[in-house]
Amino acid sequence: MKSKISGVALTPLLLASFLTLPANAQDLIIMISGGTFADAQIEAFVKPFEEETGLTVRAIKSEVPANKLKLAVESNTIDFDLSLKTEADGIMLNKLGYLEPIDYSVFDKAELEGIPEGLRPSWGVGNITASFLLSSSTELEKRPTNWAEFWDVDAFPGKRTLQAFIGVQGPLEEALLADGVAMEDLYPLDVDRAFAKLEEMKPHIRKWWTSGNDALQLFNTGVADMGMNFDGRVYALQAEGRPFDLTFNQAKYYAVHWTVPKGAPHKDTAMKFIEYATRAKQQARMAEISGFAPANTAAMAFLPEEKARRLVTYPENFKTAYKLNGEWYAEVDEEGRSNAEKLQERWNVWLTQ
């Protein structure tokens, strides 16, 4: 039995927290997703940025789905300056004209060179490279090493989870890989084949996770022994002493971009923040805490070897991974509907069948 703070100490804490609340005194409002990933960003970006600039940042641990962002821009009620978007979402929102162009003039030349060109389009700058990969409990007798083995429920017993289809991400590539498609032949996705393969897995999935924290909790609470997870979340599980490990074999990686919505209240500060958050040093700090790979390749120099080894962009890991094709998801047919939208509808119907 231990008690960190006494009940007596709580009362002034409570009062203080209620009295010292600054009402709307923020210089910047950013959406930083949730859970351990958000915590890492606060540590690596937000706190040092506040210290260096003296500005106040309101970091909200939540996400704004692309559709909500669209509605907010349309109704002119954008009340945040920065949010994280995948490549596919970024391309789609940019096509609609819902994103502010990035002001690359505030960036340091040398820093900018560290960010691969593909990670600094006009509409957003890469923050991290995350990957979906196969994670499993080290307590299992037999652990799957690729998606085909994961699909083999008899040879590899255990409770399974996969990601639900959310906008531009889902377990379609994994299903195709399990069905024998090679990594380099995945795109354009054979959607019918993917759904047919998913049908096999459906009865074995108790919960399709929808967010990184959701996934983390499923493994954490014993609902799942194996399945899709983010690299960073697996490391978060390990940090909590949970028996999970990952393989970069057939890992699907993609970049998360900082984007500024049209009509953001503090646009210029937002640009400054992005510039700060993509500096090699800050990126290294982020990678160290979160286990997600930095978008700025120069960050690798600031990382100890054993930390770098854990990242998807580490050469050895990178060889067996493939890139999620965001452009394919954002591709629009003659009716103006993107592949992502069509897939989402098909998924909703399929799931309730």
């Binding site: 109704s75 990184g212 989402q344 309730t352 069948q353």
Partner: protein, 575 residues
């Protein structure tokens, strides 16, 4: 009552009517228009719904789940209500509190509690594995069974309270007479007791069934991915495809089903199916049941009723009553268990839920009080709920007064309008409100959220204030004015003190509604403005951390503190 009095009172209908029309009727109409492709009119989106088998399955599943929940609530609730009506004295108030406190506890808190209990590593599973009854955890969380358990738990008070209210008003002498006349206990029960309790059963069953049709949060959090309910489907369509037209069509289908459920009871129960009368028939037993717990409201008469119950006769004796008591205690235990577990979990020192926690600390309370985001969410909720309470007291209070004093011809229609938000599933309201508030630029704004939450609060105010005002003798008011007091003086010196206990109860319910609402808020509040329940809701979805247990514990304390305060305050005002 003279007619100038009544004409003057008719003016008081206006604020309520205008407000409800703008923020309840108009959004629904607009949603209906959008669903038909306004300005064109066609049924394409409806045809699409019925052409996709899995969507039609969802409709049937929604009905099936609501039926199961209703039947289960009846089986658990009826004997419990009988048991409660037999209890006496202090024991009775404690037992009643076990029903009412869960009812007043945040829906999210109760849902979170079930996530904790049904977990694979939960106390329930550890206990069963320890006893050797099972060797694998029961996969209850994210399963249909899990969702049903949570839904039954949440709906149970809405079944027990109306039945209890009716049983409480029954004359026990009738049962005695039936038995004395040789009917035997079973016959006496089926011929005398059960028929008399039917209004309570009807009210409870309708409430539970109709509210279950619109269930959203609980199945989403506890259910399996394939047992989506209609309301979850609406959100899925809106969030993923942004198909406002299709979402509106599904919302209209859900609304039609709900109204049909109410209508069915109207047909069976009465000759006239007037909306307002129907709603009051369904809701007033619930309010009556709730008021039993608030002995000092209702002009102090309830308090007397309580003491008069002390000498009340037992309808059941011997073994039967012992079985009944055992059953009643079990059901009440089921009702309060989740809250107890949440309180215990909140003192855990672990990030992972274990029961009992392996180490204890106040760290989650520390997080709660030091994290500015939690404080900010709390402040936002308090502000929104406070303003909404004031607004709904002004608008709803005037409307209730007008309903008592105003023209009888206008009464049923306006009554129905004021209470309608209560019977429409909140996800339906949300879609409509969004379509209206977004073009006005009120989404993502505190003002917008307040406006969106106030119609629901007004309904609570109207129903409680009406109960208070009807028990108020208008002659007192006339006496006051005939003795030379002006309108304002009469209002301050005569009306206000008498209605104060009811008004406090009304304000409490309005506040709890606005403070706890999460479905409408999740549509209207937007991304950066987070109320406390919204923050909990995102937290439940993303992190099952004990910090949510801590905030839930604090939210449970709120009704516990509020209730006795209500009683004391009312007494002070009376003397």
């Amino acid at each position: 009552m003279n007619s100038s009095f009544s004409r003057a009172a008719n003016v008081l209908f206006l604020p309520g009517v205008i407000f409800m029309t703008l923020l309840f009727l108009y959004p629904l109409l607009r949603m209906a228009a959008i669903s038909t492709g306004f300005p064109d009119f066609n049924g394409d989106s409806y045809a699409r719904f019925f052409s996709i088998p899995s969507y039609v399955d969802t409709l049937f599943r929604t009905f099936a789940a609501s039926t199961i929940v209703t039947v289960a609530c009846f089986i658990l609730g009826y004997p419990t209500a009988v048991f409660l009506s037999q209890a006496r004295g202090h024991k009775k108030s404690i037992l009643l509190a076990c029903v009412v406190l869960p009812y007043l506890t945040s829906l999210l808190v109760r849902t979170y509690a079930w996530m904790v209990i049904l977990n694979d590593t939960s106390p329930l599973n550890s206990f069963l594995m320890w006893t050797g009854l099972i060797d694998q955890p029961l996969g209850l969380l994210f399963s249909t069974t899990g969702a049903l358990i949570g839904m039954v738990h949440i709906m149970l008070p809405a079944m027990i309270l109306p039945i209890y209210a009716i049983l409480q008003g029954m004359d026990p002498a009738q049962m005695r007479a039936a038995k004395a006349l040789g009917g035997g206990p079973a016959r006496a029960f089926f011929k005398v007791y059960l028929p008399q309790s039917l209004p309570g059963i009807r009210s409870g069953a309708t409430l539970v069934f109709a509210l279950s049709l619109g269930f959203y949060i609980t199945p989403a959090a506890l259910g399996s991915p394939s047992d989506l309910m209609l309301s979850n489907l609406i959100t899925a369509v809106l969030n993923s495809a942004l198909d406002f037209r299709f979402a509106s069509a599904i919302a209209i289908i859900l609304l039609a089903c709900t109204l049909a459920a109410y209508g069915l009871v109207g047909l069976f129960g009465t000759r006239s199916a007037q909306g307002g009368v129907l709603i009051s028939r369904i809701f007033s037993p619930l309010v009556a049941g709730l008021k039993k717990l608030l002995p000092s409201t209702g002009n102090g008469r309830a308090a007397q009723r309580w003491t008069s119950n002390v000498g009340r006769e037992q309808v059941w004796e011997g073994t039967g009553s012992r079985i009944l008591a055992a059953y009643g205690y079990l059901v009440l235990f089921f009702l309060v268990l989740p809250s107890i577990l949440v309180v215990v979990m909140s003192f855990s020192d672990e990030r992972i839920l274990n029961f009992p926690p392996r180490a204890w600390s106040l760290r989650w309370y520390e997080v709660l009080f030091t994290d500015p985001l939690w404080a900010e969410a709390t402040w936002t909720s308090l502000r929104v709920a406070a303003v909404s309470t004031v607004l709904s007291m002004l608008i709803g209070g005037t409307a209730a007064y007008a309903l008592v004093r105003g023209s009888a011809a206008l009464r049923p229609g306006i009554f129905a309008l004021m209470l309608a938000p209560m019977i429409v599933p909140s996800v339906v309201n949300s879609v409509g409100l969004y379509s209206v508030l977004a073009p006005w630029g009120l989404v993502n704004r505190e003002v917008g959220l307040i406006l969106a939450l106030t119609p629901g609060s007004i309904s609570y105010v109207v129903i409680i204030m009406l109960a208070t005002l009807t028990s108020f003798d208008p002659r007192l008011e006339m006496a006051s004015s005939s003795l030379g007091a002006g309108r304002i003086r009469t209002a301050l010196k005569i009306i206000l003190p008498i209605i104060a206990p009811g008004a406090i109860a009304a304000a409490l319910f309005a506040f709890i509604h606005a403070f706890d609402e999460v479905v409408i808020s999740s549509f209207i509040a937007g991304s950066t403005m987070q109320t406390l329940p919204l923050k909990i809701w995102y937290g439940i979805q993303y992190e099952l951390e004990p910090v949510i247990a801590a905030v839930s514990t604090l939210m449970m304390i709120f009704p516990i503190i509020a209730l006795p305060f209500l009683g004391r305050r009312a007494k002070v005002l009376r003397t």
